[in-house]
Amino acid sequence: MKKPGMLGTFELFLLLWLYSTSTILLALPRIYAQDGQSALWLLPIISYLYLLPFIWVIIKLRDYFPDKILVEIPVILFGRWAGYLVGWPLAFYILFVTAMALREFTDVVNYIILPETPSWALLLPFLIASAYGAYKGPEAISRANVILLPLTLGAFIFLLFSSFTQAELYFLAPILGPGLDELLISAFLRLSVFIEVAILMALYPNIRSGKALRFVAFYGMAFSAFFMALVLLAYGLNFPFANTQLIGSPLFQLVRNINWGRFLQNLESLFVFTTVLMMIIKISLSLYIAVITFAKTIESPFYQPYVFPFAFITYLYTFMPTDYLTAVKWEYEFLRPYGFISLFILASFLLAVAAWRKKKRPRKKRSLKREPTAL
């Protein structure tokens, strides 16, 4: 296989930021508002603390297999069958989660700016762009992300700042929302919001060093959690807690309130622009990860041929839920929690086995690494 392109720490950091933060663009703030009421912004911060063990597992796993992705590890440890067992479901799981996010996104965009275009037509160019990005690989995706940063992170921060100017500070109180105990419990239950961090396991070969991974995983996720908290804070300060749970597309509603005077208002179209950019980058990375997982599972030397078929499958999956609310329900009640649990168990199990094997045969550490090339 072609040598994978390397991602710089800076690029990876921003890529992880975008990948994990873009969930906040859709239904997530409403779900957080149901759980956290006036303290919704505390939830991602608490969730991040719960997430630390998972991040630790991800970092440790790379020390054993620095140039492999997750699905190749069971092959090395157990054999071919294990690879199939993990790889196939994982690839299609990623596709399905992607499709759910895509569905929510399409429905919202469809309503906000292009109400009369049917969603199939809306989605087609979108997916072509995403597939092109996936085709180009993570290197191109991360670089595109960096050059468009003024339009994504910049616009986001501008919009956040604008909405803070209209905030009512006393919406922050009562500061603990439903109570600390409930916050802690619901933060734990919503841990799967951060399942995005698992993409790092598919990008192992693209990461320069363990140090870079450690930095990106810990601080990158911390930044993402902080950013999400900031967005939720903006949301919570603009709408009272009785209201936050009622709004379907919270961030858009937030943006629609911005008013910088006569010439700078009605910015939601601009925000849609930002959202589309972020979502294309996210979806193309998801697509790449699904495809690379699949390609590695079937030991294909290239991943590029599978990109467009997979994009088409995603396109079909997108229309499986009957409506927006179903997509949200599937995503947040089934796909994410169970996916998170499975991934966590899988990764920790692989880590344990790898550590155990290494301990058993400390001398043969080198052969463990070399083995895959022989396979």
Partner: protein
């Protein structure tokens, strides 16, 4: 060309076809040229006598606007009646009204530029929650939509009577009203967002600004123009001096200008109309809420008649509200600091710091009295548009605790102390008022007599 190349070309062609078809197809769906749309600039909603909804819309005529402003050089039509058209349809629900409107106007109706909605008093009495869901849900309305309540006459009347003094452009007219609202606080600045918030938030009550037709001016309106009536007629409506000026929107004694006035507010509890405030009271409420910016106040300095001091009072810092729940009934203390400049002083020397303090004291007393009056009236409803619960909100930790506060009962019986602390900082260019010198002072201060002055007869 080899086979491989032919295949490649075919592939590229196929991709190009897909792209082209997508682009061509999509442009049929959502593309709306500006000249295919009818933009609603403002809307009015009434309860018709039959119990249906009257939906009044003011639709812009872009061609007339351009003709008036730019190309023609001023000869074009300028009155709102010519650059906009007012339509009314009656329907059972608002969306149905919109549908009927679409059927009436040749072009597609767009609410994207709609900035203002005037709701009839009756509808507010029924409760706003029944009306505003349409606005919350519809993609073309934003939560920054401005709401007004029509008092005294249906909203439709207001549309018919509105004649802006200066603005030709209705959109700018609305923006200006809002600016004035925010600046001087004679009526509260209320968006759809605020209506929603005050309706849903626990223990907060809201206001809604009032638009009303001033009968005196409305009589002067002929066609599109307001012709100020002769002074003799104007004086007929004069009211006795020395009484508190009426700042009730429909009753303000004036002539010329816009027949529609927008001062005063309705008080909402849970989105339902429960009371009214006049313009002065709204200003006091804005002060207590902390939204006040600036305003001109005239305060009687002494018991003597016609002896006023006028000041501009500027916002200085947010009001300090303290709620003492240990007492029974609870005690609410509000401290408000303002900065001021003297505008006029009648008759009295104020050229010393002590005199300044005296003026400050007088202002504080007057404002205090006004504030307590308003608060007492609100307590009797009970409604809390002053948001006095804010300090208590900070003292609760969980939402359950906060929701459980029996605020309206507490507020009803609360003992309120308002402490205005105006700081008059500067006196303008004049320290003491100019007055006749001591030699002639006594003569000048005499009461004017009915006798004819010398030489006056020649003038008649």
């Amino acid at each position: 060309m080899s086979d491989k190349n032919v295949n490649k070309v075919k592939k590229i062609l196929a991709i190009a076809m897909v792209f082209l078809s997508v682009t061509l197809l999509t442009s049929c769906w959502d593309k709306q040229e500006l000249d295919q749309m009818a933009f609603v600039l403002s809307m009015g909603i009434d309860r018709s006598p039959a119990g249906l909804l009257d939906l009044t819309a003011r639709i812009a005529v872009p061609e007339a606007i351009v003709g008036a402003g730019q190309i023609g050089g001023g000869a074009g039509p300028t009155a709102p009646g010519q650059i906009t058209k007012v339509l009314t349809v009656t329907a059972r629900t608002l969306p149905e009204g919109v549908a009927l409107l679409e059927a009436t106007v040749e072009r597609r109706i767009s609410f994207m530029q709609c900035r203002i909605v005037v709701i009839d008093e009756k509808l507010v009495e029924e409760g706003l929650h029944r009306t505003i869901d349409f606005f919350n849900r519809h993609r073309e309305f934003r939560r920054s939509l401005i709401f007004f309540m029509a008092k005294g006459s249906p909203a439709r009347e207001i549309f018919q009577h509105a004649v802006p003094v200066l603005e030709e452009n209705i959109a700018r007219y609305v923006e200006d009203i809002v600016d004035i609202q925010r600046q001087f606080g004679f009526s509260p600045f209320v968006r759809l967002h605020d209506l929603n918030n005050t309706m849903e938030m626990y223990h907060f009550d809201g206001l809604i600004p009032i638009m009303a037709i001033n009968e005196e001016v409305a009589e002067e309106k002929e066609g599109e123009d307001v012709k100020p009536r002769p002074t003799e007629e104007y004086w007929q409506d004069d009211e006795p001096a020395h009484e508190e000026l009426k700042t009730i929107p429909g009753k303000l004694h004036r002539s010329g200008g816009n027949p529609v006035s927008y001062v005063g507010a309705g008080v909402l509890v849970g989105g339902k109309l429960v009371g009214f405030m006049n313009a002065d009271e709204v200003r006091i409420t804005e002060l207590l809420r902390g939204r006040y910016k600036t305003g001109i106040w005239s305060i009687p300095l002494a018991q003597e008649e016609m002896n006023y001091a006028s000041v501009i009072l500027d916002h200085q810092r947010p009001p300090l509200i303290a709620v003492d729940t240990s007492t029974e009934p609870i005690r609410i203390t509000v401290t408000i600091r303002m900065k001021g400049k003297l505008m006029e002083v009648q008759g009295q020397d104020i050229g010393t710091p002590e005199a300044f303090r005296l003026v400050e004291k007088k202002i504080a007393e007057a404002l205090n009295k006004k504030a307590l009056d308003v608060i007492a009236r609100m307590q009797s409803i009970p409604a809390d548009p002053f948001h006095f619960i804010r300090p208590l909100r900070w003292r609760t930790l969980t939402t359950k605790e906060y929701v459980a506060i029996p605020w309206h009962e507490w507020f009803q019986n609360a003992e309120v102390v308002v402490d205005f602390q105006p700081e008059v900082e500067f006196f303008g260019f004049q320290v003491n008022p100019s007055r006749p010198n001591l030699k002639v002072e006594e003569k000048v201060l005499e009461e004017p007599t009915e006798e004819e002055l010398p030489g006056e007869e020649e003038w008649e």
